[in-house]
């Protein structure tokens, strides 16, 4: 599903990033396919704030709708 559709507080896995600068920027920070993230906050009509490791990243709504994620149906990750 799209990151912009994620629920606040949900645990997710990154599936795919849109090609281009964002993909390269993401890789450097560790935002790669398979990376575990947590959706911290979704501003109505606005950015999605996610937690990658212990780094908070704000992603604009349009960009979030181009990032594919998968819900993590397993146990809670080790809280970092």
């Amino acid at each position: 599903m799209r990151l912009s559709d994620a629920a606040k507080g949900s645990f997710l896995f990154v599936v795919a990033l849109p090609p281009g600068e964002i993909k390269s920027q993401g890789i450097r920070l560790g935002l790669l396919p398979g990376a575990p993230i947590r959706c911290l906050s979704v501003l109505p009509g606005g950015p999605v704030v996610l937690l990658l490791g212990n780094q908070e990243i704000a992603v604009g709504r349009k960009l979030a709708s181009r990032i594919q994620v998968r819900r993590w149906g397993g146990e809670r990750s080790k809280d970092r």
């Binding site: 911290l40 906050s41 490791g53 990243i57 349009k62 809280d79």
Partner: protein, 592 residues
């Protein structure tokens, strides 16, 4: 641009070794500048790196010339900051990599890239006080062995570890290059595959040497997330901004300026300088008018610069530094993102917009942080037309506070409406693409007093240094016009515009002329007209609207020329001229 160390000549006389260039590099918000400051003391010089407008700070420490670079996440030259940092680290002799101890796995990416340059290098792990507070355990000796560099734990804010770092930076240190790493992305190449490998290596190192001992979410993290909660965040942010506007618009512009300008400068200093000079020159002579006349070089210039502008500028940059260092500014950008996308911008544009209330000229330069040319142009147009700067902003607040609420809302509403209209039109019709918000959020921190004061002092100093010459030029021009009666002629000539179209007294022509040179001069003139009761409320509203929208000052025009080209500069100048008078005329027809 390599500075070579001169060898001792065999003939028996010693050559003094040229200072070696030590570049500080690291991610944004790791406290690089604080470390730089701790090493170099107060002496630091901000210079423009040739070819760009990104600033590089240089200072000296012992046998080294220190070069502070902009914070970057990698060296692949994607944007201006990365290119500048890349040049600085390839040019230099040795590197000091400052990393954030609380985000080590993130920072190690850049560390690995820097190591692959094969230069002598040291790593300083900053924010160790936060590391302790968050109960993170770092095995720095293990990491040091694995990387092949010396690592120094430091808390630049508290001052711990700095001594050890200083002694490590001696004349004999940093001679041997760090163990070169053949793996890892070679800097300057944005190859995703290499990036991924470097990222993996950084993660593996973090796994071995960083332990998060089951910490729960720390209070500052909870607060940071609460701020971003839409229900709580928006009123909080609005409240904060109101507080700042009130601080500058009410407390500073009235209470403080009443003292500094009204008393200290306008009375004490004025009496002193007038008394002094009038003993040598006739005050009514040309020289007298130039020096101590109403717009004199020795009267108006220092009185306004030091009495009026300085307290306002210092207050403004103080607030800005507090917002930056606390981590609130990027969160404000997140909260504003939705609004800004309506204008073809993203949340990051809040930074130049806020800066514009201090000085539009400086804000224009900051538009460089925006992602695409289209965004830079939109932000530039909005800044030039609708954002009032420094003293103009404070004086507007002061005048507006005299206005009854009805007129105040008409003024505020007109400006906001124009802003929205203009932004939306530009977003609709300008070709090109805009970038989306992608912002790494620093944790909320209590700002360090020393760093805040240092930033405020430096920015205020630059403001005065840049504003001074224009003030001087304005003063000379206006004094000459006053003396030669040129002003009276201009007033007469512009009566159809001022009295006819805008329904304002003829003297306001002087106000507009001065606004062309320096916007705050025009605002100050308005303030004195208001305090002399020369304007009715509707007239005040019209005048306020016109000077807010009025043309960008000379300094801004110069930047416009450089950044956007002569065509855009002319279009913006004429556009704001037209907008100011048209809207003013409209309001005059309705209200006066």
């Amino acid at each position: 641009m390599n500075i070579s160390v001169k060898e001792k000549a065999g003939v028996g006389h010693e050559c003094k070794a040229a200072p070696r260039k030590l570049a500080l590099a690291g991610n944004p918000n790791v406290g690089k500048s604080v470390v730089f400051q701790a090493l170099t003391g107060m002496y630091a010089e901000v210079s423009n790196y040739p070819g760009t407008t990104v600033d590089v700070t240089t200072g000296s420490f012992g046998p080294f010339t220190l070069i502070d670079t902009p914070g970057v996440f990698s060296l692949s030259g994607f944007n201006d900051e990365e290119q500048v940092t890349l040049s600085a680290v390839t040019d230099c002799d040795c590197i000091l990599n400052v990393v954030d101890g609380t985000h080590l796995e993130r920072d190690l990416f850049l560390t690995l890239q820097l190591l692959s340059l094969g230069k002598p290098m040291l790593v300083a792990v900053n924010l160790m006080d936060q590391v302790e507070k968050n109960r993170i355990r770092l095995d720095l000796s293990g990491l040091s062995a694995a990387l092949g560099v010396e690592i120094f734990p430091v808390s630049a804010k508290k001052g711990t570890g700095i001594k050890a770092l200083r002694s490590a930076l001696s004349a004999d240190s940093l001679r041997t290059p760090a163990r070169g790493r053949s793996r890892g992305e070679a800097p300057g190449i944005s190859d995703d595959g290499a990036s991924a490998r470097t990222r993996l290596e950084a993660d593996r190192l973090a796994e071995r040497f960083v332990r998060y001992s089951g910490q729960k979410t720390v209070f500052s993290q909870k607060l940071g997330r609460a701020v971003l909660n839409p229900v709580l965040g928006v009123p909080l942010m609005a409240g904060l901004l109101c507080l700042i506007f009130l601080f500058i618009g009410k407390f500073l512009s009235q209470t403080v300026v009443d003292f500094t300008e009204g008393y200290l400068m306008s009375e004490c200093y004025y009496n002193f300088i007038f008394g002094l000079i009038s003993r040598i020159l006739d005050p009514d002579s040309f020289a007298g008018v130039l020096l101590i006349g109403e717009y004199g070089v020795l009267t108006m210039v220092p009185i306004y610069l030091l009495g009026l502008l300085l307290p306002l500028i210092v207050g403004f940059y103080l607030c800005l530094a507090l917002l930056e260092d606390s981590g609130l500014l990027p969160r404000i950008a997140v909260l504003c993102d939705r609004l800004f996308t309506r204008f073809g911008l993203n949340g990051k544009a809040v930074i130049p917009m806020l800066l514009g209330f201090g000085c539009v000229t400086m804000a224009l330069i900051t538009t460089r942080i925006l992602g695409t040319k289209r965004e830079r142009l939109i932000a530039t147009v909005l800044l030039c037309i609708a954002v009032p700067c420094s003293a103009q902003f404070a004086i507007i607040m002061a005048v507006a506070s005299i206005l009854p609420p009805f007129y105040f809302f008409i003024y505020g509403g007109s400006i906001l409406m124009l802003f929205f209209l203009l932004g939306s039109l530009l977003a609709r019709f300008l070709p090109g693409s805009s970038s989306d918000l992608f912002l790494v959020l620093p944790p909320l921190r209590l700002p360090g007093a020393k760093n805040v004061l240092r930033k405020t002092a430096m920015k205020s100093k630059h403001f005065l240094r840049d504003a001074g010459p224009m003030f001087l030029a304005g003063s000379l021009l206006i004094s000459t016009l006053t003396y030669t009666g040129g002003f009276a002629a201009i007033h007469q000539a512009l009566i159809p515009l001022t009295e006819g179209f805008l329904k304002l007294p003829g003297e306001t022509a002087a106000l507009f002329l001065m606004s062309i040179i320096k916007r705050d001069l025009g605002a100050a003139c308005l303030y004195s007209m208001v305090s002399q009761d020369l304007l009715s409320f509707p007239q005040m509203t019209v005048a306020l609207t016109v000077i807010t929208l009025f043309v960008p000052c000379f300094a801004s025009v110069a930047i416009l020329f450089k950044e956007q080209g002569p065509l855009a500069a002319a279009a913006i100048w004429l556009g704001s001229f037209a907008a100011a008078f048209l809207l003013g005329g409209l309001l005059a027809a309705w209200l006066v």
